[in-house]
C-alpha cells in the first residue's frame, strides 16, 4: 500500500499518466460507440471527454496536470489539419465540376450559421468571449480553436461548441433536409459538412458515399472560409 502510494506520487509528476489515460479512455469509448452503432449520441469523442472529466474530478487532478501528458495527442491536430489537403485534393475534380453550386451553398450556409450563432447568443446576454467562441463552431476543431484564439474567444469553449454543433447537426440533418425537401445526396452531404464538420459528415458517410465525399470537401472549404471571414465578422457582431 505504501509503495503503491509512492508509485502514484511518482506517476503524477510524469506526463505518462495523462497520455495513457487519454488513449485508454478513448479506446474504451470507441468500443462503446461500436456496440451502440447507429446512435449519433454515442460519439466516442464525447464519451471520452465526459469520462475523463469525471476521472479528473474524482481524483482531484487539475486540468493543467492532465494536459502535460495529453498535449502530445493535442499537438497532432496541427499536422492533421495540414493533412486535410489530401482528401480535399482527391475531391478536387468534383469540386471543380460543381463549383458553381458548391461555393454559393457553402458561403450561404457557413455565414448563416456563424452570424446567427453570434447574434442569438449576444441577444440572449452571453458575454463577449462566449459570443466570439461561438463564431467558428461549425468548422473542424483545430481551425475553430485557432480562430477563437485569434479573435479573443476561449479555445477550450470553442472546442466544446464545435463538438456540440457536430452532434446537433448529426441529429438535425435529416429533419432539416426533410423540412426543405432536399433529397439530393450531394446537397445533404454538403449541408452536413458545412454546418456540422467531421462529426455530421461521418454520420452521412454511413448513409451514402456521395454524401460523405461532399461533406468532406465542405469541411475543408468551410474551414478555410471561416478562418478568413469570421475574424472579419467578429468585431462587428460580438459587441462591446
Amino acid at each position: 500500500m505504501h509503495s503503491l502510494f509512492h508509485l502514484w506520487v511518482y506517476l503524477e509528476t510524469t506526463p505518462l499518466l495523462g497520455l495513457a489515460a487519454t488513449l485508454i479512455v478513448y479506446r474504451g469509448a470507441f468500443e462503446v460507440h461500436r456496440i451502440m452503432r447507429g446512435n449519433a449520441l454515442a460519439n466516442p469523442t464525447l464519451i471520452a471527454i465526459l469520462a475523463l472529466v469525471a476521472l479528473l474530478e474524482a481524483t482531484g487532478t487539475p486540468y493543467p496536470a492532465y494536459f502535460q501528458g495529453a498535449q502530445y495527442v493535442h499537438f497532432l491536430l496541427g499536422p492533421a489539419t495540414v493533412a486535410l489537403a489530401v482528401p480535399m485534393h482527391a475531391n478536387m475534380r468534383r469540386i471543380r465540376r460543381s463549383a458553381h453550386a458548391i461555393l454559393p451553398a457553402l458561403a450561404a450556409g457557413s455565414l448563416t450559421a456563424a452570424v446567427s450563432a453570434m447574434l442569438l447568443a449576444r441577444w440572449l446576454g452571453a458575454p463577449r468571449d462566449v459570443v466570439l467562441s461561438l463564431g467558428p463552431k461549425s468548422v473542424t476543431t483545430p481551425i475553430a480553436m485557432g480562430v477563437a484564439q485569434q479573435i479573443g474567444g476561449q479555445p477550450s469553449l470553442a472546442a466544446v461548441f464545435v463538438l456540440m454543433t457536430g452532434l446537433l447537426a448529426s441529429v438535425l440533418v435529416t429533419p432539416a433536409m426533410r423540412a426543405v425537401r432536399v433529397s439530393d445526396r450531394r446537397a445533404q452531404g454538403l449541408a452536413a459538412g458545412t454546418a456540422g464538420h467531421g462529426i455530421a459528415t461521418a454520420r452521412m458517410l454511413l448513409m451514402s458515399e456521395t454524401a460523405g465525399a461532399f461533406g468532406g470537401l465542405a469541411i475543408g472549404l468551410n474551414g478555410i472560409l471561416t478562418a478568413i471571414v469570421v475574424p472579419l465578422l467578429a468585431g462587428l457582431l460580438a459587441g462591446g
Binding site: L77, V82, A83, A85, P127, A191, G198
Partner: protein, 119 residues
C-alpha cells in the same frame, strides 16, 4: 511515414511563420493545408502521383484518429463549467437554431444550383 510526417510538420511551421510575418488572422495549419493542396495540384499537373503512397498512408492514418485528437482540448471544458452553467440558455438556443439554419440554407441552395449531370 517519416518523410510524410516531416512534410506535414514543416508545412505547419511554414504556415505559422507566414501567418505571424504577414499578421494574417488565419491559423498557421490552415495556411499549411493550402500550401499542401497547391503542391498536390502541381504534382498532378507534372504527371506524378499526387499524393505519393507514403503521404497518402500517413494522412489517412492521421485523419482516422481525428476523433481522439479533439479529446485533450475537449476535456478543457472542465475549466469552463461555470461559464457554461451561467450562460446555458443562450448557448443552447444559439447552437440549436444556428446549426439548423446552417443545414437548411446550405442544403437548399446546393440542391437548387446543382445540375443533375454534375454527379
Amino acid at each position: 511515414m517519416l518523410n510524410a510526417l516531416t512534410l506535414l510538420v514543416a508545412l505547419q511551421l511554414v504556415g505559422e511563420v507566414i501567418a505571424q510575418a504577414a499578421d494574417l488572422p488565419i491559423p498557421g495549419p490552415v495556411i499549411g493545408l493550402l500550401l499542401l493542396l497547391a503542391g498536390l495540384m502541381l504534382r498532378e499537373r507534372m504527371g506524378r502521383p499526387a499524393p505519393g503512397a507514403e503521404l497518402k498512408a500517413t494522412a489517412t492514418g492521421l485523419l482516422s484518429t481525428l476523433g481522439l485528437l479533439f479529446v485533450p482540448a475537449g476535456v478543457g471544458v472542465m475549466t469552463q463549467l461555470e461559464v457554461l452553467a451561467r450562460n446555458w440558455l443562450a448557448i443552447a438556443v444559439s447552437l440549436v437554431l444556428s446549426t439548423f439554419a446552417g443545414l437548411l440554407v446550405a442544403g437548399w441552395v446546393m440542391q437548387r444550383l446543382a445540375s443533375p449531370e454534375d454527379e
